[in-house]
């Protein structure tokens, strides 16, 4: 009985310790923002519906990072069109915006950062594929692009349409 209790205690103590490296691993995987983004259909006004494929050695981590990657994609990559979908340019038209505002985006994309406010995964859309040693996980994500654009305009990262007038 004592052995079982001791084992349970060891496991309970080691869980938070394991979460640290796992999160670090997740951040490392996504710091490079290795993902693919494509249009997933016409969204309602003020939103983009995108499909994001994220990569990680752990499927659950890749799934967790889809929202972050979707927001990153809408800001810096944009996506192609086709089959009734309209291609969209990135919100940040300046290619150097990410490096020029490194501090802002570091905290914006940090775990639990502001990016979370602008993206939500559409339930039941997860697809998991094993590619070599890692998992490629796809999710349809709804990005609230109008709110995101307003936040970036307010932070001075991008210019508003009426700025300068």
């Amino acid at each position: 009985m004592r052995k079982i209790l001791l084992s349970l205690l060891v496991v309970a103590l080691s869980l938070p310790m394991m979460a640290g490296p796992r999160q670090k691993k997740a951040d490392k995987d996504t710091e490079q923002f290795r993902y693919e983004i494509e249009c997933a259909g016409n969204a309602s006004q003020g939103n983009y519906l995108v499909k994001v494929w994220s990569y990680s050695r752990t499927a659950s981590i890749a799934e967790n990072q889809c929202r972050k990657n979707a927001v990153h994609g809408v800001i810096f990559k944009g996506y192609g069109g086709g089959q009734g979908c309209v291609a969209q340019r990135p919100l940040a038209s300046n290619p150097g915006a990410e490096t020029q505002n490194e501090d802002y985006f570091k905290s914006f994309f940090a775990t639990g950062g502001e990016f979370q406010k602008y993206a939500s995964i559409v339930e039941g859309t997860t697809e998991v594929m094993k590619v070599g040693k890692e998992y490629k996980v796809g999710n349809v994500v709804n990005v609230r692009k109008d709110d995101l654009r307003k936040a970036l305009e307010a932070a001075g990262i991008i210019r508003g349409l009426s700025s300068g007038f």
């Binding site: 016409n42 309602s44 009734g84 969209q88 340019r89 692009k145 210019r159 349409l161 009426s162 007038f165």
Partner: protein, 316 residues
């Protein structure tokens, strides 16, 4: 005394800092091809040739889809702090003003004085025209909608940008739903083009067109070939433009002794005192230069909007 001076300096600094480029007015109108293919036009006899002219009032009164499209575009533009001028309201205001002017008389029974030019200037005008057209294609039971929204500079007629595309075919969605979907999906791309245009304008100046004309038989006996020293007047105007446009950017596609057309004239958005200027302000600077010694040419500047100005030489 020092306090007063400091206050004046601070006020001037605040004024200079708050000087902003004049905001262009935008208006959505249905394109000629849409109006004519949907039967909203009037036929006029133009020197023996019949010409079809779009009838915007009829289109707005009879086509709900058009009203919906304009309202949706206005909604999306207002969201970007760029509300549009309403075509319907502009037409109504013009009619209202015309009616009021017709009924206005003095105690002695005299009507309002209005030159033909004033009446032309009263017509609906804006700086950037957004031309909208769409067409529904039927393939079997499915409907698909092709959509074009094109922005054009009202003065230079240059295309600023366009968003176009054909939506996914649908069996269930009606035309209004497809149209709304097309506008919502294409508006960001369209606004990106508009943004590029505004950024370019703020970087390399506003593009305007400038026409120089001469009053026939003017008492000063001036035309564009009149010589001042070794130079003809047209050369003097060319030299002035070379100095006062940004990087000397302008072209002169046509010039004769009576008319000179300058296009692609890039003018600074602020004058030397930091005040925002447009085509009218720029033309007034040239006009002042020509009125001074040694030229002493009487000039008249006609206001045509932010991007076009006309200077008439020889009389006020």
């Amino acid at each position: 005394m020092k306090k007063y001076l400091l206050t004046i300096v601070l006020m001037c600094a605040a004024l200079a800092a708050s000087a902003q480029i004049k905001k262009p007015e935008l208006m959505v109108i249905p394109s000629d091809v849409w109006c004519i293919s949907n039967g909203y036009y009037t036929e006029i006899d133009n020197l023996g040739a019949t010409t079809k002219v779009p009838n915007y009032k009829q289109a707005l009164q009879e086509n709900m889809g058009l009203k919906l499209a304009i309202a949706k575009i206005n909604d999306l533009m207002a969201e970007r702090q760029f509300p549009l001028q309403s075509l319907e309201q502009t037409i109504k205001n013009l009619e209202q003003r015309r009616m009021e002017d017709n009924l206005t008389t003095s105690k002695a029974g005299n009507e309002l004085a209005e030159s033909p030019l004033d009446e032309v200037a009263r017509t609906a005008k804006c700086d950037i025209i957004l031309e909208l057209s769409w067409d529904v294609k039927k393939v079997g039971p499915k409907n698909s909608l092709s959509y074009i929204l094109e922005a054009r500079d009202a003065y230079t007629s240059k295309s600023i940008g366009a968003a176009s595309g054909t939506g996914a075919p649908s069996i269930s969605a009606d035309v209004d739903v497809l149209l709304e979907e097309a506008i919502v999906s294409n508006m960001d791309n369209f606004n990106n083009r508009l943004m590029d245009h505004f950024t370019e304008m703020q970087t390399i100046g506003r593009e305007i067109s400038l026409d120089i004309k001469v009053f026939a038989n003017n008492p000063a006996g001036i035309d564009l070939e009149t010589e001042f020293g070794d130079d003809e007047l047209i050369d003097i105007i060319n030299n002035w433009l070379q100095v006062n446009t940004i990087q000397g950017r302008f072209s002169m596609p046509y010039a004769s002794e009576n008319v000179a057309n300058f296009t692609q004239v890039r003018i600074p958005v602020y004058d030397e005192r930091g005040r925002a200027i447009d085509a009218n302000g720029f033309a007034k600077q040239l006009s002042k230069y020509l009125r001074k010694e040694p030229y002493n040419i009487p000039t008249k500047v006609l206001v045509k909007g932010l991007g076009r100005a006309v200077i008439i030489l020889g009389e006020k």
